[in-house]
Subunit: 449 residues, 2 copies
């Protein structure tokens, strides 16, 4: 008799594993439970639908449940929520939401990909009906109605991270008055504050009000009150990041780690034999420090899902970890980061030099060349690149990939200086800006020793 793989969660971390396992194990019976209506969609695309760049939420779906059934023979059950895992009996209690019926489903192999949920700190009023967290397509649908309606004149975004700022831009495009409230010294807490300040400036230039070093005290219908002021707010959008949906696993006795995320080994195995996890519900390893880390990103979910799928099917693959790469487009600015920030470097005990340079995205004389700022952190003595941040116009963001690759390879600043990177006037100065920064770092290292 064939074995049954039960997958909990129908987005990237779950369905990547399911499809890879299917390809390698034609005989496996695969059942996938998804509490919502959608499978494999791009949550990262939601701000662009809200802002009107992308026409509909449906366009964000990469593969429908029916496609998984037809092409991969995966028994996808949408509207079915996993309520509890019984590891002794190897079964999951499932709630069929439409029929309000509960049943038990046995498994031989279990893959957990329950994702994440927006953080909702205990602020008075945070559970009001005008307060939106945006994580799933189901979350996004009512917010999209609001955005399209033109009813919401005043939008307050709580939290100035990537998602918060992307949502702020979306509502500016819908001609709302948008205010971002960020508790930290600067927006984009995953950048150094000096780089975050460039982002704040860019957002303000586009008419977005940005208040930093300001906490939200209370949310009431029509207003948000901070430590500094009361702001009108027809709707409030939460951009405070996410936390892992790991309660189901934890309650079953599966070990958790950083920020409560499910602990996994390099093969995406949990602490329990025959139980796997991938994506936003579980942790990763941070290559720069070697420490476990929680990163909720679609790219990581897809990779971890693939690793899990290969191993579930009896193959062998290990996930090397992440270097903390992230990019975004905010109004006219492109922003990227990888590796450690200054704060993270200090916490890990690294001594480093900082090279910060301005260069141009194209040859200076070529039409459309704009100023790009590159900041590099390079370890003393070893010369190893520890982190990088880039901010600038069109042509900036994807340059972070060279640094992500160099950091993964353990390259030094000098290694980066002499990389054979591409050059042509429409794309780059003769020294690519990341190499210009590496050159500066190399000089600082030599001076300092």
């Amino acid at each position: 008799m064939s074995q049954r793989l039960l997958v909990i969660g129908g987005d990237a971390g779950g369905m990547a594993a399911a499809s890879v396992a299917r390809r390698r194990s034609p005989d496996l019976e695969i059942v996938a439970l998804e509490q919502g209506r959608y499978t494999s969609y791009s949550a990262c695309g939601i701000p662009y639908v809200l802002g009107g760049d992308v026409f509909s939420l449906d366009q964000l779906v990469a593969r429908t449940p029916q496609q998984f059934r037809d092409r991969f023979r995966i028994d996808v059950r949408t509207g079915h929520r996993a309520m509890a895992i019984d590891l002794d009996k190897r079964s999951v209690e499932v709630h069929n939401l439409a029929q309000d019926r509960t049943y038990k489903l046995g498994f031989d192999l279990l893959h957990i990909a329950t994702g994440a949920k927006p953080r909702r700190p205990p602020i008075p009023g945070i559970d009001g009906s005008q307060v939106y967290g945006v994580q799933t397509l189901e979350d996004a649908a009512p917010l999209l109605e609001e955005a399209k309606s033109g009813r919401c004149r005043n939008v307050v975004v709580v939290g100035g991270g990537y998602i918060g700022l992307e949502l702020a831009e979306a509502f500016i495009k819908r001609e709302a008055m948008v205010t971002v409230i960020e508790r930290g010294a600067e927006v984009m807490g995953r950048l150094d504050p000096d780089m975050g300040a460039l982002v704040s400036a860019g957002m303000r230039k586009h008419g977005i009000t940005v208040h930093t070093a300001e906490a939200v005290n209370a949310i009431e219908p029509g207003t948000v009150t901070t430590t500094q002021r009361t702001v009108p707010a027809d709707i409030v959008v939460l951009g405070l990041g996410v936390e892992p949906n790991s309660a189901l696993a934890a309650e079953a006795g599966i070990a958790t780690g950083v920020q409560g995320a499910i602990a996994v080994d390099r093969r995406q195995r949990t602490s329990v034999d025959g139980v796997w996890a991938a994506g936003d519900c579980c942790q990763s390893r941070f290559i720069v420090t070697g420490e476990p880390v929680y990163v909720a990103l679609g790219t990581v979910a897809n990779k971890q899902g693939r690793i899990a799928g290969i191993n579930i099917a009896g193959g062998y693959a290990t996930f090397p970890g992440v270097v903390g790469t992230a990019i975004t487009k905010l109004c006219a600015l492109e922003v990227g980061r990888t590796g450690v920030t200054e704060k993270e470097a200090k916490r890990a005990g690294f001594e480093y030099v900082v090279a910060k340079i301005e260069s141009t995205t194209r040859a200076g004389y070529y039409p459309g060349a704009g100023t790009i700022t590159v900041k590099l952190l390079v370890e003393r003595v070893s010369g190893r690149v520890l982190g990088g941040q880039v901010i600038g116009p069109e042509g900036t963001a994807k340059r972070i990939d060279v640094l992500a690759t160099a950091i993964t390879a353990g390259m030094t600043a000098d290694d980066v200086v002499y990389l054979d990177l591409s050059y042509a006037p429409p794309f780059s100065p003769v020294w690519d800006p990341v190499q210009e920064a590496a050159r500066r770092a190399s000089g600082l290292l030599e001076a300092r020793g």
Copy 2:
């Protein structure tokens, strides 16, 4: 008494060395000879001036002779040509072109950066006044006059490499009828023919006539005759690549290597003590094969110049070599390559799998997403990435840098699959196209072993 460094050649390979040496050796006397009028200019920018994207040739000058004199205390002598090197007497015979006067100049240290010149095969009529090679700003000036004049209705470009095609596009922008004659099976001989064919198609779509597998038999005033036809030609532009200007060094007894380029060690030292070389006149090492190679590119010239400068000043630095990275923008297409092509891989004895995929430059649902083709060559057994080629619309070219970095680091296809590359819908699908190609290669390797 201070030592004298004599630099022959005022472009990147020469002046990068001179400025780096100056910074590290305040007491060095530095004299730089340049036969032309300009120093440190971007020859790669010439097609964009010819096409009218960039206003004037002067904009291509990064640093003028006067700036080198003022900021770096370098005695730059433009219009002075080095005629002969006497290694025994440690002196160079110099011709002052304006005064038509010859003098001898002694040196303690000599740095040769004599650059390259366009290839002119022995085709009847190739030395006609209507035939232009484009290598220096001096070459470009009369061609720019022609382009602006509107006189040249019919332009024939001989050679379908990067420069040839960039020049073809420039003249299409000037509303000439442009024909490219390429002897090889496809344009862009540094790509595989299947990828070159995509470029030909793109050029034709923009109204450029492209004839491949066709050699030029004769050039006459008003026409070019090939093995297949006679084409009207008011002017003829040579895009046949360049060869090293190494005669001066060779005649002095300095060793040369690949294609007659000056042989250098990793510190850019020539075969003669105290004599250095950098840039288009000398050879490099090809990291993928370990063999010496001739690559004439501004990026390489700048890096080699920097290495030479550090060593000349008594420091220590070595040039790791190149991986053959190159990019260009041709009409609506961006094209990039790095590492080895199939032909080069076979010649070096590599067995490999080929992964060729189509993906999109942005998330498929994001406005402006276009089709990108990525081709990867991956070594059997080791899984090492040997080469990559990319063709597609805006957002394509600079992706080659990840592959250049990965190849330099000796990464395998699996290493590339799991790189933490950046993702956001305006910039990439969730699997970056280069990772999509690596994933395909990984599957092929597993199937083939």
